[in-house]
């Protein structure tokens, strides 16, 4: 297997982007990444696209062909593959691309993630999110995606793993960082009371415990590490990328206060990268709901079980703390265009490891981690990047 490097990154702004279509967003992110990698386009020999539900959001399937075509790659017959794994679509598309380059099958691969969510009503969006659960035995019962996370949160509070206030501080952390990211959907710091007093979505989770509905796309370009210097003087190494599965329905698990798939993917990712959790300086975690962010910190081994909430409350996951978490703003403040999220995480970690993160820069970061989740922990991908 060959070592793989990230040689280009690009992203659109995230948010309600009325004047851009799905293909506009995908192409903007892709072109920025190609430009960043100093590519003309003729070098690219593979494409992977992470997307959850273009079929229901914009009534368009077959988006591999769509993006290849509008990126000017169809005329060169470059293969394009769409990956769907609900919220983990982007991160798993990235991992597929890493494997394609590592195996020697491809040399220059572009991986994009995109979702256009605001062309449908909020109610339709929620119904699409609910389809990441077990449609027949969860959603059919009137159980929403948010309420499944709320039930995890309730159980965590009951088992004294986290308090309501500690959970809420996860959103405060993400917003504080989002305020420093010009591409974030919400660029405004908030206080704990704003989270605690927000209108209820699914008790105990309120509006500010949940990531917003967003449009957006992100892209990265990969190549073998030993070719990277040909294109950029600032490559970032992909130290590892690992993926794990768990049951589709939350009720099929005995323990809902930990995501076993995160634990398994992290264990493999650390082992392949030959590092430990304590070596991570900066991490992007999947805080679709505040409770998911807290669980991620524990399941990734960044904090002990029962101690993550207090650490967040104490500012230990801010830039300058023990480990900087969600410096991009996370899903909560950067925004969560579903298929784009996993790739946007890689973009942020790459910026951090290059030293390009401006006001939110983590000094001298050597290792950065991205954790991307599909459903209620049913699919998780953990990737580790290394500054070289």
């Amino acid at each position: 297997m060959r070592d793989v490097a990230i040689i280009g990154i690009g992203t659109t702004k995230f948010g309600e982007i009325w004047d851009a279509s799905f293909r506009d967003l995908g192409i903007e992110a892709g072109l920025k990444a190609m430009h960043d990698a100093n590519l003309t386009g003729s070098e690219v020999d593979g494409m992977f696209i992470g997307n959850m539900s273009s079929g229901r959001f914009i009534n368009q399937h077959h988006i591999g062909a769509l993006i290849a075509d509008y990126a000017g790659m169809a005329s060169r017959n470059v293969p394009a593959t769409r990956i769907e794994a609900a919220g983990a679509s982007g991160g798993i598309a990235f991992r597929q691309a890493v494997m394609a380059v590592a195996s020697g099958m491809n040399d220059i691969v572009i991986v994009g993630g995109a979702e256009k969510m605001t062309d449908v009503t909020d109610e339709a969006t929620n119904s699409i999110l609910d389809s990441a659960t077990d449609q027949q035995w969860e959603a059919t019962m009137g159980v929403t995606f948010a309420s499944l996370n709320a039930m995890i949160a309730r159980r965590c509070i009951h088992e004294k793993i986290v308090t309501r206030e500690e959970m809420a501080s996860m959103a405060v952390n993400s917003h504080a960082h989002g305020a420093l990211n010009p591409d974030a959907q919400f660029r405004k710091a908030i206080d704990l009371n704003t989270v605690l007093k927000a209108s209820m979505v699914a008790d105990p989770l309120g509006m500010f415990d949940c990531a917003p509905i967003s449009d957006g796309a992100s892209a990265v370009v990969l190549c073998p590490l030993d070719m990277a210097k040909k294109y950029t003087d600032r490559p970032v190494k992909v130290a590892s990328s690992a993926q794990a599965s768990d049951t589709l329905a939350l009720f099929q698990r005995k323990n809902i206060t930990t995501f076993d798939a995160t634990v398994a993917a992290a264990k493999q990712a650390y082992s392949l990268a030959k590092i430990e959790a304590k070596d991570i300086a900066v991490a992007e975690v999947h805080d679709h709901f505040t409770i998911e962010g807290i669980l991620a910190l524990q399941d990734l081994g960044l904090f002990k079980r029962g101690e993550a909430g207090k650490a967040v409350m104490d500012g230990q996951v801010m830039v300058g703390g023990k480990v900087a978490v969600n410096t991009s703003g996370g899903l909560k403040a950067r925004g969560h265009p579903i298929g784009a999220t996993g790739v946007a995480q890689i973009v942020e970690i790459t910026k951090q490891l290059r030293g390009d993160a401006d006001k939110r820069q983590v000094p001298n970061a050597k290792y950065g981690l991205a954790q991307n989740v599909g459903g209620t922990g049913s699919a998780v991908v953990v990737s580790i990047m290394e500054a070289i």
Partner: protein, 133 residues
């Protein structure tokens, strides 16, 4: 959801019929073809098993932001129930004051209307959970 898609799950939805692995004895709901513990050695041995219809609330949420078809009943409670067979099931809580729902509360399964198909007029029924007393 189409009529057939609901109808073929009727045994599970009406009578809480799951399966018991003839190899290791573990109970699963809903039915599945393979035991996730025994896999191949469970083939052909996953026998129909009627769950005990009583249990306790393992965790719950009160839904305020509801799917369109449930707007008329919001806010409403949903829960994961740990049945007396030690199996978790997710469903709605009914006949209960929302403030009184708590973890550990004893409940029993009841058959209730779940949804109505606007086009065909077919009414779908299934399990929900009500306080035991």
């Amino acid at each position: 959801m189409s009529v057939a898609r609901h109808w073929r799950e009727t045994p599970g939805r009406y009578n809480l019929i799951g399966v018991k692995c003839g190899n290791c004895g573990k109970v699963f709901f809903p039915k599945r073809t393979l035991c996730p513990e025994c896999r191949r050695s469970s083939m052909g041995k996953m026998n129909a098993y009627k769950l005990k219809a009583e249990g306790t609330v393992f965790t719950y949420s009160i839904i305020h932001d509801a799917p369109a078809e449930n707007n008329s009943i919001k806010p409403y409670a949903v829960a994961m129930i740990l049945t007396d067979d030690d199996v978790l099931i997710t469903g709605q809580l009914v006949d209960v004051e929302l403030e009184k729902v708590e973890i550990g509360m004893p409940v029993r399964a009841v058959l209730r209307k779940m949804s109505e198909d606007g086009e065909t007029g077919v009414i779908n029924y299934g399990y929900k959970f009500a306080p035991k007393n």
